[in-house]
Structure formats: C-alpha cells, structure tokens
Subunit: 364 residues, 2 copies
C-alpha cells in the first residue's frame, strides 16, 4: 500500500500505549491534529505515562505542521512517529466507497495499524460513517456484540453529562441491540466517568412500561431482567435533567436528538443577534452579556467533549467532530489512552458473555 513508516522519536518499552491519529481527519487537518497531539504528549510526559502517537497521513503536511510546534524544552518523553498515507477520506465520501476504494487513506491505514497490533487505539475527527464501517469491518466485533454503537455525551443540569447511546450508528435496532447498547454504555460510564452504578434509562414516550413502540416494549423487558441498574423509561424532557446516566435509544432517534441539541446553540445565537440588532441599547446589553452566556452555556458546545467512543468493535476507536479544536483532539487522545488502560473492551466482553449459559436461549 506504499506505506512509508518512519519512526521520528520513540521510547519503546513493553508498557507503551501507542495511539494512531488520523492526521488528515478533521476540517483543520493536520494543523489541529498535530497541535492537539503535541499537547497530549506533553500531558502524558507530565504525568509520567508512556504513550506514543503515530500520526497517519501525508508525511509532508504532518512534518510541516510539526515544524510549527514547540515540542517542549526537551524532546525526551514526547514520542511520536509518522506513517505516510497518500489518500484522504473526505466528509462527503460515502462510507462504503471509502472503505472499498481508499485503502491508502489515513483513515484506513490508521485502523489497519490497529488491526495489525502495532497501535492500541485509533483516533479520528474524520468522516464518522467511514470510521465506523471501516473499523467494524477491519477490527471486527467484541464477542457477544451484535452491532457496534456510538455513544455521545450531552450536558445535564447535574454534575455529569449523560451518555446517549446509540447516537446514530444503527437504525432499526432490535430490542436485543438496545440491551447491548445499555450494557456497553453502562460500562463506559462506570469506567470512564467513574459512576459506580450508572442509571440506565430507556428513551420512550412515557414512564409506564406499557408505553412506546413494539421494540421499546421488548427492550424494556430485557433491560428490566438484565444486570444493569435500569431505572425504566425516560422521556425527552428527562435527558437534560440527568434523570439517567445512560439513555438508551435506537440510532434513528439518537441521531435526531443529538443534531437537534447541537442546533440549539446556533438557534440561541441567532435569537440574541436579532435582539441586539433592534436597538443600540439592546446591542450594548447583549455585548455585556456575551461572556456571561458563554460561561453559562460552555458545555453545550459539543466541541468541549472531545470525541465519543465507537463501542463494541474489537479495538479502541475514538471519533471526534470534524470541527474539532486542538483541545478537542488532545482530549480525544487522552480518552483513547484511558479506554486502553482501563480495559473497557474486556469488561464489555465479560458482561455480554457471562460464564453461565442463559436458561432462556439454548446455545447452538
């Protein structure tokens, strides 16, 4: 595939965690990617974690971006390498076509590095659908997982965000899939947000177990009888008040809720702008108010979260928004390291493959 692998600086030990970064993924690649990665590496050096970043993408562009970075007073402990990849998957590329036709893309090659065992995780702010389908096809699924899923965080009025899962990876999910989303989301929430017994809610149109679609009714039963801390149905109004730590839904609903929520900040801004335009007094009031609004609504900006996990694939994959800032990229890399270190996938596999065989379904 014409790879030009060249290790620039490494400090290889047996405990090193290697993270492949799709250097060409986001809208501001590779600048934001490189800047975020260097910030992450400095953080790892500071805390004494042995982590190496593998930049995957156009070598020349990556080097050029790296040249603009100050890697710190001494470069020891800031470990990165470059794997050259000629092609770039764009945001407009069809995921299936990207998988079939762009085998030398940074996206495909980064995931391939993971599948080969050369890296422990893959991070990308690129085409979400392409990352998802390529990762699923190349890495495979964790044993017991029917469909990998993407969770996303939304802010709440409480202390912690809520994990909405599935946020768009799967439409027409069956009850069994929703149950698995609940298990994966719960484990992620426990291990990453440190919530001991995450409250799992099923997104529905009413609190009563008799409410909702056929699939929702069946999922309610599965979740009630499972091992999760299931708090029952939650409604649309319960999401932002943090009535559950994990909100389970089909990707069709999750995607619509997520995109609707993301559009809200823009809606507010338009409204405030229209108000300001009405008079000079209004303009002055809004100007005075701007920093207040920014602070109060800071975490409504999805870029703050720095990536969401692709759960259920046989690997660690963190996906970020195309508009990811260097800070978001840094946070995605930190998150990837955490997911590797805490062995989230092992917990998912254990939870979905309990040692005793279920009495309900005979194994074939």
């Amino acid at each position: 595939m014409g790879l030009a692998t060249e290790v620039i600086t490494t400090n290889q030990t047996s405990n090193v965690i290697r993270i492949a970064l799709d250097a060409m993924g986001g809208d501001f690649a590779p600048q934001n990617e490189v800047q975020g990665a260097i910030a992450a590496l400095k953080h790892f050096r500071h805390v004494g974690a042995n982590v190496e970043i593998v930049f995957v993408g156009k070598e020349k562009d990556i080097r050029s971006a790296l040249a603009q970075q100050d890697t710190g007073q001494e470069s020891s402990g800031v470990n990165y390498s470059i794997v050259h990849a000629d092609e770039v998957v764009t945001m407009d590329d069809d995921p299936t076509q990207a998988f079939r036709k762009k085998r030398n893309s940074s996206l495909f090659q980064g995931i391939q590095q993971h599948a080969n065992g050369y890296v422990n995780a893959f991070v990308s702010a690129g085409n979400t659908g392409a990352v998802m389908s390529t990762a699923t096809l190349v890495l495979g699924r964790i044993k017991g997982v029917s469909r990998p899923t993407i969770g996303t965080f939304l802010p709440t009025t409480g202390k912690l965000p809520v994990l909405l899962v599935d946020a768009g990876a799967n439409v027409d999910s069956k009850a069994k899939h929703l149950y698995e989303f609940g298990v994966m989301g719960s484990i992620y929430c426990r291990q990453i947000l440190n919530v001991e017994h995450p409250r799992v809610g099923l997104l529905n149109v009413g609190e009563e177990p008799t409410k909702g679609t056929e699939v929702a009714l069946q999922a309610h039963e599965l979740l009630s009888n499972g091992v999760l801390n299931f708090v029952g149905n939650v409604e649309g109004r319960d999401i932002l008040i943090g009535a559950a730590d994990v909100v389970v839904c089909d990707g069709f609903v999750g995607n619509i809720v997520l995109k609707f929520a993301e559009s809200f900040l823009g809606f507010l801004k338009t409204r405030f702008r229209a108000f300001a335009d009405k008079s000079l007094l209004n303009k002055l009031l809004m100007a005075a108010m701007k920093p207040v609004l920014s602070k109060a609504l800071k975490d409504m900006d999805y870029q703050e979260y720095g990536g969401v996990p692709l759960l259920g694939v046989n690997g660690v994959v963190i996906i970020g928004h195309g508009k990811s800032t260097p800070l978001a990229i840094k946070n995605m890399i930190l998150r990837a390291e955490e997911v590797v270190r805490k062995e989230v996938n092992k917990s998912i596999e254990n939870a979905l493959n309990p040692p005793t065989i279920s009495t309900k379904e005979p194994q074939s």
Copy 2:
C-alpha cells in the same frame, strides 16, 4: 347522563359558530378557561364574528369564575352557555379508562356535544391522550385518514414556526401514515399560517433518500410521488432553522423531540441560576439580563402557541397544555373558530380522496 343544559345568553343565527370549551381541563380550571373564553368572546364581538362559547363542566364552579369576569360594557354579542358535567378527567387518568368510566366528564360531554352537532368545535387544555382517544372514538375519522394525528409548533430562526407532525399521537407509524401526516400538516399550515406551498420535510438521519429506517425509505418514496411540496429529508439540526414548514415524523420521535425541546428553557434557567449563585456580580448581571432573555426567547415558551390541532378526526378539536394561561385559552378558541371557518377538514378529505385515478395506473 344528567346534563343540565342552560343557555345563559345566546344570539342564535344560522351563521353562529359554537365552540365547546372543556371548562375543567387545565391545571388552573375553570379560572383560566373562563377568563380566556371571555377574552375570546370580546375579540369576536370586536371583529363582528358570530361565535358562542359553550362551557362544559361543573356549573357552580363556572358560574363562580364567570362572576369574577367583566363581560364588557354591554353583554350583547358576548354569547355563552353552560352545559353541566359532574366529572373531571384528571391528567393522571388513563385515556382508555377515562373514555370508559367517565362518561359524565366535561371532556366526554364536550366531545359528545360536538358529535351531536350542537357545537362546531371542541377545545380542551386537559388530558391530551384522553381528548385524543375520546375524540377519535366519538367523532370518528375523516374519510381517507388512517390515523388522526397531533401536530405541534416549534419556533424557528425564521419568521414562522415549524409544524412537527406527528408529535406523539401515534407510535410505530407506517409509511402511509407518515404520508397522511404530511398531507394534513401541509393543509393546516397553508390554511392557518397562510403559507401558500408549505415545504414538507421528512425527519431523518441524513439528507440522502437512501438514509434511515425501512419506514423512512418508504415514506420518502410516497412523499416524493405525492402532491405535496416535498423538500426531501430533513435532519434534527434543520428543525429550528425552519428548513421546512412541516416536519413529518413518527409520533415516537416527535414526542421525544417535542419534550426535549420543551426542556431546553428549564435547562437554560437552571444554568443561569447556577451562574448567578456564584457571585454577587454574576447575580447583578443575570438580573439585568433577565428581561432581555425573556424577550429573546419568548416564543420558546410553548404556552405562547395556544394549542395544537388534533388532525384527521371528523370534527375540530384543539388541545392545549395543562398549564395554559388565559391568553393561551383565548388563542385556542380563536384557532378553533378559524379552523371551522376555513373548513380545514373539507380540504383534508379532498386531498386524501382525489377524484381522479393516478395516471400511473392504467386508465380503464
């Protein structure tokens, strides 16, 4: 059923529009109902419309609320009557139980007045599910309508609100139902909001026709081949920017989006309060900002809209939020009169029962 019908003031002519009002429906009934109705009647008198309100509910309570109202310098042209009904359907009542067991409720009796032809419309701020199921069972459906539906308005950054339909009346809708929701929503939008060719969008997870659930794919095809001004799929982020005048979806998704949207204002308030609590300066800033925020976000308060239509039943039914203010009640009554006067139901029937056979089928 023990009705005590007593006409207090009437000015009966052949052109009178009679509107039954569930006087016991809302959380502040009958005060808000009576206050709103009198305001509506004064409006009708002012514009020379011949409208009579039929209060349905506990006569004594209604009279007591009426006594507190100033019906204007002269009572001529302010027409109302009272139909006594002993029982009240509460917000917690199960819709099916309410229909079976509370036949002498203001809700049931008001709808019965409509079915009997004594009134032209029914307005309630009561139990939405109970109004919907009772109205559907007692009034029946318009010819060609498979499932009656509830639309709801959401604000947009544009000049007009968007009609989200279905907003929770039906879950597990089939493509055919979604098509009908589009037709009914489009007609309502044209006749009530005066949008000549309402843009109808299908709520989905992507713009491409190949996106979404099986039902969404089929609905996309039906809507593409129909008579509507179909603008294709719209995503969650497109709702608040007014990318369509009518957004069609299954009631499961619609209900979740609606309740999620309604919770935003509370979310903002909590955030602003938390910000204010941090320091005296913050408190002063927020206090100065409060009227600004109120003005800028005014129409995010669902109470401003004053009711939504139950579309597809063989009658005119307007449903309001339990917390409806007198202004909201007034607006619901005005809306009911408008829907009757503009013969919205006739348009729906014509649209769903076209006189000519589609040219795709061979002509006999």
